[in-house]
């Protein structure tokens, strides 16, 4: 039968085509990267509506071609489908290169969750777009708590910073669309300036294994990525409306994306969020409102061989800080603790008064990449960030409109990266980084600078490699060198200079003493109250990482990783010397600090079958010259007692285990568990480390039914234990008037708490691509009163109470 059809078709061809149709086309399909032949690629001959396949050498032959244009569509599993056209004038031979690892382009359909890992062997977890959308009315820090081992350190409930395995701030590196975020991240009350609405995916890499991002990520790396670029003609967008009862908040976010099959793309995105005073179960948390505006846009061209992107994002946050947390001295602090509730509770308002912070962050980047056959990919990037941070304090008279802290941090970076992937079994990645940073502290605040003016220069070079030993074993390794130089101009009160003993070693860096508001260059007079110094410090940092991933069988996998990282002290740790008005505390740095050096070893075990997934991650992190801020004692002044917090350097160890498990009880019912246990010790004093997250465990049951408009409902239990291991830094203060002594308890952690949350959503599909997702949630269902050890405002007020949330998400 087949033969007959073939014969007939041959016959017809012969007779219908009259002219010279006897040309032969010979094609050779190979991998773009390493030129290996691709066997069994499907070749569709468009003109003839016929199919053929490539042979064992990647070759295929088409006979009896007529003169004219020949269009071929070549496809292969896990390859980018390629359409090529040739003018046939005679017998022709053409090599055709196919891109064999399509995931690099991210061109898989939008639906697929296939996420590419940032590293091969480090402990890593990703929050996908769908989960992220639940946090649209919250922050990056809140969303990251989805990952076991990641908690957050907070100031109130709107300023949230991620803590990865007990480490935070400068020890965590945040990459926003390929740009390392530079936003005064040293401060506990400085949350990352990233609009969660602009993010499509968050990845956390625990530890410093991802060397291409930096060598100082002793805690870890957070990679924030915008949506992937789809190379096809499409126009899509999403608009989200949300409302929350607690704080009477509302948010709107929208984005629009236009892509072309030629690779051109343009995206715009904007979001606005507003909230009034939040509410604890028993009272209003006065002055905790916030207003946030974010805009981002990008455009460029993306093809497999080359592309570029221009990206700009803007974020402006204004966040109120609990009014009752503003204290004048330690007596006020003692009264606040004893009261057990805020001493200032007012009616609900959307107004944000002092104390408050306002931060504006601009980020602009441009990058370009090009792929070379048989070699790899070369990328170049330049980025600029401008971060302005203003902190407004409770002040008298017209000064209340002048910020007490006003910093402008500008950063320029240049990055060159070469990715050698012509041999997929032996990948190499090399790169160079240059960075210049300038910090300007406005003197018009009328408050002594807490951070001085400085210039900072960074230079980095790195090389990483990944070897596929066999199908079951992957090994990766990397080394990195960073040079940092900080050149600061800092005013010291002469009394502080002498008290710190800087006159013994550092008199040579004094520029001059200050007389009547003028710096007298070359004059050192310790009887004058103030002096200007010019500390210049250089740091050489080496970091390295090595790891392996071994698949024992289809179900069992183990990973092992060792990383060595080194972090120079930041500007705050070196130079901090000032009053944090809102917290009534002095923070004092030390210019004698060395860099921190961390050695972290981690092991993971993963078991997967069709119903059950289990992941256990253990780590041990030894940090030499670990720098931390601790309450020291009190300082008596006109204003009464101030808490003095000093930066100190010690040797520390942190170790712990993170557990993650999911079990599909039935196809519709899923059970999810995660917990994290961590311990931190100061090896010099044998005390536990301060601010280590207590043991916490989260259990969730979820019901999902695709037939009911993708309906899902989940109940989540969050249990946070009391931190029993904490250093006792309490001290005694004497009431000057009565001579009475009392203890300032700034160390005791709050008791354990348990919270229950509900979340439910459904998606309604309309014509075409349009769909509406409706989500309803209740946080803290039982309106439980609780305080969190890692919340700076825990001394003054309870955390927020019950919150009903509703979100409409329109995709089009």
């Amino acid at each position: 039968m087949k033969q007959i059809i073939l014969l007939i078709s041959l016959f017809t061809t012969f007779f219908t085509v009259a002219q010279d149709c006897n040309h032969v086309f010979l094609g050779e399909v190979s991998d773009y990267h390493d030129k290996t032949p691709i066997i069994g690629a499907t070749v569709y001959i468009k003109n003839l509506d016929k199919y053929t396949t490539s042979d064992a050498d990647g070759k295929f032959k088409i006979k009896n071609l007529c003169k004219g244009q020949l269009t071929l569509v070549i496809s292969h599993i896990s390859c980018e489908t390629k359409t090529v056209s040739y003018d046939i004038t005679g017998d022709t031979f053409k090599p055709i290169a196919l891109e064999h690892h399509i995931e690099e382009l991210g061109e898989v359909s939008v639906k697929a969750d296939a996420t590419k890992r940032e590293t091969s062997t480090a402990q890593e977890a990703t929050i996908d777009s769908k989960t992220l959308r639940r946090y649209n009315n919250l922050s990056i820090g809140d969303a990251l708590e989805e990952i076991s081992g990641v908690s957050s350190i907070k100031t109130g409930n709107s300023i949230v910073k991620p803590v990865i395995n007990g480490l935070h701030s400068s020890r965590i590196l945040i990459m926003n669309n390929g740009v390392r975020l530079q936003d005064q991240e040293w401060g506990v009350e400085h949350a990352p300036n990233i609009d969660i609405n602009a993010a499509n995916q968050l990845t956390v890499i625990k530890g410093s294994g991802a060397l291409r991002y930096g060598g100082d990520a002793i805690g870890g790396v957070v990679v924030v990525k915008p949506s992937r670029i789809i190379v096809k003609d499409t126009l899509y967008g999403r608009t989200i409306f949300g409302g929350q009862t607690n704080g009477r908040g509302y948010n709107i976010a929208s984005n629009l994306n236009k892509n072309y099959s030629s690779g051109w793309f343009g995206h715009v995105q904007g979001s606005y969020r507003r909230s009034g005073d939040f509410q604890a179960p028993d009272y209003i948390l006065s002055n905790t409102g916030l207003e946030s505006l974010g805009i981002s846009t990008r455009f460029g061209k993306k093809t497999f061989e080359s592309g570029f992107e221009m990206y700009y994002s803007f974020l402006n946050n204004e966040i109120g800080i609990l009014r009752a947390a503003h204290i004048g001295n330690l007596l006020d602090f003692e009264r606040a603790i004893n009261a057990g509730r805020p001493l200032r509770i007012e009616d609900f308002t959307y107004d944000i008064n002092v104390p408050k912070q306002g931060v504006t962050h601009h980020l602009a980047k441009v990058n370009y990449y090009k792929r070379f056959q048989n070699f790899g990919k070369v990328s170049l990037q330049y980025d600029y960030q401008n971060n302005r941070r203003q902190e407004f304090d409770v002040r008298v008279g017209e000064r209340r409109n002048i910020p007490a802290v006003d910093l402008i941090l500008q950063t320029h970076s240049i990055l060159a990266d070469v990715n050698l992937d012509s041999n997929l079994d032996r990948k190499y990645n090399l790169g160079l980084l240059g960075r210049y940073q300038n910090n300007f502290a406005d003197p018009d605040t009328g408050v002594r600078r807490i951070i001085p003016d400085y210039d900072k220069y960074d230079f980095g070079v790195y090389a990483t490699t990944e070897w596929l030993i066999d199908d079951d074993l992957i090994v990766d390794a990397g080394i990195r060198y960073d040079f940092n130089r900080i050149d600061a101009k800092k005013f010291y009160r002469t009394s502080r200079w002498l008290d710190s003993g800087y006159d013994i070693d550092f008199n040579d860096i004094i520029v001059g003493s200050v007389l009547s508001g003028e710096v007298q260059e070359g004059t050192i007079d310790f009887s004058l109250p103030e002096l200007l110094a010019n500390p210049i410090f250089n740091y050489h940092n080496f970091s390295a990482s090595i790891g392996g991933k071994y698949s024992i069988d289809d179900n069992n996998k183990v990973m092992l990783n060792f990383s060595h990282a080194s972090r120079p002290p930041n500007a705050s740790e070196l130079f901090s010397d000032g009053l944090h008005h809102a917290l009534a505390r002095f923070e004092i740095g030390d210019i004698r600090f060395n860099k921190e050096i961390a050695n972290r070893i981690s092991a993971s075990y993963n078991y997967t079958n069709s119903k059950f997934n289990f992941l256990a991650e253990v780590f041990y992190n030894r940090v030499n010259d670990y720098i931390f801020l601790r309450p020291d004692n009190s300082d008596l002044s006109t204003r009464g007692y101030f808490a003095v917090w000093i930066y100190e350097q010690t040797n520390a160890e942190l170790f712990g285990i993170d557990i993650n498990a999911t079990y599909d009880v039935t196809p519709n019912f899923q059970y999810q568990h995660k917990s994290a246990f961590i311990k931190g010790n100061d090896l010099k004093t044998d005390l536990p480390l301060i601010d280590i997250p207590p043991f916490n465990t989260t259990n969730q049951i979820r019901y999902y039914n695709e037939k009911w408009n993708n309906f899902s409902a989940s109940l989540k239990s969050e249990w946070v234990f009391e931190q029993n291991e904490f250093p006792d830094f309490n001290y005694q203060v004497t009431n000057q008037l009565t001579g009475e002594e009392f203890t300032i308890d700034i160390s005791s952690p709050p008791p354990a708490y348990h919270l229950l949350h509900f979340y439910s959503d459904a998606t309604f599909n309309f014509k075409g691509k349009t769909s509406l997702n409706v989500a309803f949630g209740v946080n803290n269902i039982f309106n439980a009163s609780y305080r969190n050890y890692l919340n700076g405002l825990r001394f003054f007020a309870d955390d927020i109470g019950r919150n009903f949330t509703l979100q409409l998400q329109l995709n089009y």
Partner: protein
């Protein structure tokens, strides 16, 4: 042809890009300057607080209590806290307050008259006594602040039985509630924070 990956367009882009980066590097390296930053002139520092008790009978000595902290709430520097003179039992004294920022000796700010009194409803003085016998009243011409309470700028002190002890003065900012009559007119405040809290020791009534 589309398959030619070394196409002209991308060459142009790459060259442009490199030139742009080069220019930027130049701009960055040239914008460096070596000027010294301006020193901050700290404001609202209560560096000098003086209490002058003037007796109604000129024959008795004036008692002066002075607290000087050149760095204000910063602590440190040449601080002093002194009481000059002694009270006489039965004598009536008028208290005159002075609170200044003298961190720049050439530009002394009168914080009491420029900031505290104009914003009387945000400020309140609380006095404290320990083992000292005084009868204190807030004068009729005292400045009126929050909820009609006299803030305690103008006060009269009658020295009681001979005693030795401590006297404190606290300036409370933005209290939620104040009471001028509490503690025998010494006053009390809830909420708010203390702008200063100074105790003078070894005060004596002879």
């Amino acid at each position: 042809m589309k398959t030619n990956f070394l196409n002209l367009n991308s060459m142009k882009t790459s060259k442009l890009f490199i030139v742009a980066i080069f220019c930027l590097t130049l701009i960055i390296s040239c914008s460096d300057d070596d000027d010294n930053p301006a020193p901050v002139n700290p404001t609202e520092l209560f560096t000098n607080v003086t209490l002058t008790f003037t007796p109604s009978n000129g024959a008795n000595a004036t008692v002066v209590m002075e607290d000087i902290q050149p760095n204000g709430q910063g602590g440190g520097g040449a601080t002093s806290n002194t009481v000059t003179g002694a009270f006489v039992s039965g004598e009536t004294y008028t208290l005159t307050l002075a609170a200044t920022d003298a961190s720049d000796p050439n530009d002394v700010d009168d914080l009491l008259n420029d900031d505290v009194i104009p914003e009387a409803d945000e400020h309140f003085f609380v006095y404290g006594l320990n083992t000292l016998n005084f009868t204190m009243t807030r004068d009729a011409n005292d400045v009126v602040g929050l909820d009609g309470n006299k803030i305690g700028v103008n006060t009269t002190w009658v020295a009681g039985a001979a005693s030795t002890g401590n006297l404190s003065i606290t300036l409370v900012h933005e209290a939620t509630a104040v009471d001028e009559a509490a503690n025998n007119n010494l006053g009390s405040a809830t909420g708010g924070e203390e702008d200063f809290n100074i105790t003078f020791t070894n005060v004596s009534i002879n």
